[in-house]
Amino acid sequence: MTDARIYPDMTNAEYHAHKGALSSSGARLLLDKSPLHFKVRQEKSETNEAFEVGTLTHSLVLENDESAAVVLDYDSWRTKAAKEAAAEARAAGKIPVLPEKWDEIRAMRDAVWANPDAALLLSGGKAEQSVFWKREGALLRCRPDYYVPDSPIGPICIDLKTSVSADPRKFEASASDYGYFHQQAWYEDGIEALTGTRPVFAFIVVEKGDVPAVSLPELDAYDVDIARIDNYAAIELWNKCRAADEWPGYPKTAPLRMKPWTRKLIEERSISNV
């Protein structure tokens, strides 16, 4: 049983192996999809290229650590030789990356550190610490990308996002779609439960592609609070499912309605036919 505290040196793999603690993404899966999706996905440990690239970007930007990467000199992963070399790298516990992608990741790191606000936030703290706390009898977890425990404005929790666009106006939509409001509330609660102080939360968004633009958008506090309440509902649902060991799929609904636009067309047609 993991104690409720901050684990500075827990590895990413160890953290993800803690299935007895609910994470922010798990909570969203419970509510946005269903307990069934949560149960099935929890038992798989999925990894894909996007996830690997994300891991590399995080180690490079946050810790300037290139040691996890093995740059393989191929144009793509399509050839047999490339696939074999990638498998070999993975077997050795490394992440294979193509030169073009590697240059892109390094450009993202340079862009983040060239941004004075981002550089200021990424100082005085530690990357990738694991946080475990309890609420309503449930063990919960999060892993802030970067955590500054005692800045002059109190603890700061920073989340690094790579995105197709770092434009804050477009990031607003991603923040809703990918549950960043929920994530912020979840992480704030975790740090607050352990330290007694709600941290200041900041996103550093860096754009993927040929222009590694950087922005530091902040989320509306009211919307984060709405998401916080939603998080509590997820914890309650998780407790209920665990107690009964029942993981239902989609819920029953009221009779389904026609899309408003279709209904309008049909109604108009029937009016003009009278």
Partner: protein
């Protein structure tokens, strides 16, 4: 005797209102509040219809401010009169205040009055507004009319009780006094990390007795004894510094 005969526009059925609204809200001449908002337009047409307005007139004379329908003060005045009540508006001799009075048709002996003057506008924080500077009496007149209409015959207003500028003013007063651009986390951190400017302490004044005693100690070659005595008296650092700086170094 002449009689005013008012043409009553033909009322549209709801499906026709919907079709009409969908068609006209895409046009260039449509007021901004209804542009591509047929649902708002249908509500305005419905309200206007109750007031005896044509659909197009409704869209021009009923505005939407902060999600609520509003009527121009002229429309409010005309609704009051149409309901059979008498509305009188007078301006005082000094041209500083407007009184609007309504005599209800069913109670003509009991007048309802509302006075609006610049003192009232001042209290409401309106005097700095452009239209109150340029045409104060007109503004006061419309405010007096809409206020007395709400007081005396709100049923004649068909639920559209406020003028656009009244609702805008309410919105402005309700708006929280917060900076539009919130300070970012990085800015807050920078502000907290920047060292405050050094405060320059005023030069401490040295008592005349200390100045005289120091000179005496120098003359008598007793600086060390005098300094020792100052230490024993727990003299402030400023005095010890003064003695050190104003005596020959070999005597210290």
């Amino acid at each position: 005797m002449s009689e005013i005969v008012r043409h009553q526009p033909e009322a549209l059925a709801i499906p026709d209102q919907v079709r009409y609204a969908e068609f006209v809200t895409t046009g260039d001449m449509i007021p901004q509040a209804y542009k591509n908002k047929p649902a708002n337009a249908v509500i305005a047409i419905g309200l206007g219809q109750a007031m005896g307005l044509s659909p197009a007139e409704s869209l021009y004379r009923i505005d939407v401010i902060q999600g609520k329908p509003t009527a121009s003060a002229e429309l409010i005045a005309s609704n009051v009169r149409k309901a059979g009540h008498k509305l009188r508006v007078t301006v005082d001799e000094a041209n500083t205040s407007v009184t609007a009075t309504i005599y209800r048709a069913d109670d003509p002996d009991y007048p309802h009055s509302v006075v609006r003057d610049m003192a009232w506008a001042q209290k409401m924080g309106l005097t700095s507004k452009d239209n109150y500077k340029k045409q104060p009496l007109t503004m006061l007149q419309w405010r007096a009319i809409s206020a007395v209409a709400r007081l005396a015959c709100s049923e004649a207003l068909y639920g559209v009780q406020y003028t656009p500028d009244e609702l805008s003013d309410m919105g402005e007063r309700r708006a929280p006094q917060q900076p539009v651009q919130p300070t970012s986390v990085a800015d807050r951190l920078k502000a907290a990390t920047t060292e405050p400017e050094a405060v320059i302490e005023p030069e401490p004044t040295i008592p005349e007795k200390v100045v005289a005693d120091t000179a005496k100690a120098v003359a008598e070659g007793k600086v060390a004894e005098y300094t020792q005595w100052l230490y024993e008296q727990d003299a402030p650092q400023s005095i010890l510094d003064y003695v050190y700086n104003n005596t020959p170094k070999e005597q210290n």
